[in-house]
C-alpha cells in the first residue's frame, strides 16, 4: 500500500530536484500526458477495488493513453483545431467518473464494516 505512495513522492522530489524544464512549445503535450496518466491511475485503482484489475490492461492503458493524447494534441496543432481539448474533456470526465466509483465502493465497504462490527 505504501510502496506506490513512496514511488509518487520519489518521482515528485526527483523532478523538482533536477530542475528539469521542457520547452514551452511542448507544455501542452506534457499537461495532457499528465492528465492521461492520472486517468489511467484512477482507472487502475477502481479496477483493483472492483477486482477486475489486470496488469497488462493497466500498463498498456497507461502508455497507450499517453501516446494517444499526445498524438491528438500534435494533430490538433497541425490542423489548427484545438483537438487536445477533446482529450482533456474525455480524460476529465473519466477521471471524475472513476473517482466517483472509487468513492462509492469505499463508502459501501465502510458501511459494511460498520454493520459487521455492530
Amino acid at each position: 500500500m505504501w510502496l506506490p505512495l513512496l514511488g509518487l513522492i520519489l518521482g515528485i522530489s526527483l523532478g523538482l530536484m533536477t530542475d528539469f524544464q521542457i520547452p514551452s512549445a511542448y507544455e501542452n503535450y506534457l499537461s495532457i500526458a499528465v492528465l492521461a496518466a492520472l486517468d489511467t491511475l484512477f482507472g487502475g485503482i477502481r479496477a483493483q477495488l472492483q477486482q477486475v484489475y489486470d496488469d497488462k490492461v493497466f500498463v498498456s492503458g497507461f502508455f497507450f493513453n499517453i501516446a494517444l493524447a499526445a498524438a491528438l494534441a500534435f494533430l490538433g496543432v497541425h490542423l489548427g483545431v484545438d483537438l487536445y481539448l477533446a482529450a482533456i474533456f474525455a480524460f476529465g470526465v473519466r477521471l471524475f467518473q472513476n473517482i466517483a466509483v472509487i468513492r462509492r465502493i469505499l463508502l459501501t465497504r465502510w458501511a459494511d464494516k460498520g454493520l459487521s462490527s455492530k
Binding site: 514511488g7 509518487l8 513522492i9 518521482g11 523538482l16 506534457l30 496518466a37 496488469d55 493497466f58
Partner: protein, 239 residues
Amino acid sequence: MKKKGISRFTLILFVIGFMLAIQFNTMQNPEQRDTRDVWEIRKELSVETQYHSELLTRIREAQQLVVQYESSQADRPERLVEQSIKQLQQDIGLLPYEGPGVTITVTPSEEAIAFGLTIEPISPELLVRFVNEMNRFQAKAIEIDGKRLIYSSAIRDINGNTTINTLPIKTPPFEIKLATDSIETVEKLVAQIQASGLADDFYLENYALEIGEPVEKLSITSYDQPIAVNYLTEWKEGD
C-alpha cells in the same frame, strides 16, 4: 494485489510524479532565453558605466555640499542655502548663463538668394531636431533668437509662426547661442556639428549655418517667463 502489480503501480506512480514535477517546474519558472549578442551586451555595459560615473559625480557633489554645510554651520548656513538655490536656478535656466560657447547664425542660403526664393520661416521640426542634436552633443545652455531654452520649452507652430516658449522667432537670419562647461567641449561641439548632417538638413530648407569661432565668454539670457508647476506644492513651515 500481487507483488508484481504493486511494483508496476509504484513505477507508474513514479513516472506520474516525475511528470507532475516537471510540469510544475515549467509553469513556475518559464525559461527566459538571453538572445543578446556580444555587441548588444557591450553597449548595455557602456550605458551602465556611464550611468555609474554620473552617479559618482553626483555623489561627490552632494558630499561636497554636506562638507560645506557642516563647516559653515557656525557662521551662516543660510548663505549656503541661497547658494544652493542659485545653483539650482542656474541649472534649470532661470539665471543668465555665462561660459564658453559658440554663436551659430542661421541665414538664407546663397543659392536661395541667387534664385530669388522667398525665405520661409524655419520649421519647428528642423529646430527640434537641431536642439535634440545639441543636447546630445552636451550643450549646457541654448538660446535661439534671444529665447532661452529650458527643460520644458516648447518649440511649435502657432498659427503659422514657429514659436519657442510661445514667442515667435524671426525668419532667418537669426542667431543661436550655445554654451557648455569648457572651451574644449565647445570645440568638440563645433566639430560634431560640422561632422553631423545638420548643415545638410538646413540646406534642404534653403538655410545655411554659419558657425562662429568658439569664445571663452558667451552670455546667454535667462528664461523670463513663469514656470507652471502642476504637481508640486510649496512646503509650508511647521508641517
